[in-house]
């Protein structure tokens, strides 16, 4: 769910000399998916991977961003076939590993902002899906399982329950970012 976690996972293999070949998804449930990472063993230089997430107003902004990253020495990882790419675009970048500390963000503030953007996007999508589910519910297309107690409700309505769980997690994440930012106004 978090790209920090995903980044650590990829870099664990990258540090051993593996190179990411492609990322292919299995649809779990929107907006979540299960991703398969295919690595190739390589004798060439070790790499370090970073994941960015951004939304651009137009193509010229997108091109400007891509060019800036390339100018700074990052290479774009193309073989990402995630379904969710269209919903919350993530950009996978890599470069030769020197210390392993190579990063696309150089201060905590911009790093937190990036994390916050990711949370916002996932929250928006979950709420939208939840809203459309409610509409279908109101239109009597789906019948919610009648249930005994909260456990029964969750089992009977696992999809909206999962959406609510995601939304709540994202809201907690966003609040914790706000708290960190307030504690360190200087970063």
């Amino acid at each position: 769910m978090g790209s920090d976690h995903e980044e650590r996972f990829i870099n664990k293999y990258a540090a051993k000399g593996y190179r990411l070949a492609y990322i292919s998804p299995y649809r779990l449930m929107p907006p979540l998916e299960y991703r398969i990472y295919k690595f190739n063993d390589s004798d060439a230089a070790k790499l370090v991977y970073r994941i960015d997430n951004r939304k651009f107003e137009d193509t010229s902004d997108y091109e400007n961003y891509m060019q800036l990253m390339k100018d700074d020495g990052w290479e774009f990882f193309k073989n990402n076939y995630s379904y969710t790419k269209n919903w919350y675009p993530e950009y996978y970048w890599f470069r030769e590993r020197v210390t392993g500390d190579e990063d696309i963000y150089s201060d905590n503030e911009s790093k937190l902002e990036a994390r916050n953007r990711g949370y916002t996007r996932l929250l928006t999508i979950s709420l939208m899906l939840l809203a459309s589910y409610m509409v279908l519910l109101a239109a009597n297309v789906y019948q919610p399982s009648s249930s005994q107690g909260i456990i029964g409700f969750i089992f009977g309505n696992w999809y909206p329950s999962a959406l609510i769980a995601i939304s709540v997690t994202m809201i907690i994440g966003k609040i914790s970012i706000k708290v960190i930012q307030r504690k360190n106004p200087e970063i």
């Binding site: 970073r50 960015d52 951004r54 010229s60 091109e63 400007n64 961003y65 891509m66 060019q67 800036l68 990253m69 100018d71 700074d72 990052w74 990063d103 696309i104 963000y105 150089s106 201060d107 503030e109 911009s110 902002e113 990036a114 930012q181 106004p185 200087e186």
Partner: protein, 118 residues
């Protein structure tokens, strides 16, 4: 990036100062690195976020670029005012520092001399 207590962060100040002359993003990274002799090295992602914020705040604006993939920006009038205000604040802080610390050092010198006398 935040304007905390009406002062700019050093990074923001340096980025704005670099935009006194029109240039594209990567040129800012290089210039700031050169100015600070490698002490401040901005990563591309951080700089891109910063460009977006500064654009939104109206401190910088896009100008014509021969290479459409590398957008050029320069300071707006507001941008000039922002760095000028920050410069004035820093200058006052420096004067204050000198006054306070030099006076304190002066007193300590006197005390040390006094002790030596004993």
């Amino acid at each position: 990036m935040k304007n905390s207590q009406n002062s700019l962060t050093e990074t923001t100040f340096l980025i704005l100062l670099s935009f006194v002359n029109p240039k594209h993003g990567y040129a800012v990274i290089k210039e700031v690195e050169e100015w600070t002799e490698g002490r401040v090295v901005l990563a591309a992602g951080t700089l891109y976020s910063s460009l977006e914020t500064l654009k939104k705040k109206g401190y910088i604006e896009e100008v014509y670029s021969e290479d459409p993939r590398r957008k050029m920006f320069t300071l707006t009038e507001t941008g000039y005012k922002i760095i000028a205000d920050d410069f004035n604040r820093m200058e006052k802080d420096v004067e204050l520092y000198k006054k306070i610390i030099e006076r304190k050092a002066g007193v300590e010198n006197v005390q040390i001399q006094g002790l030596d006398g004993i």
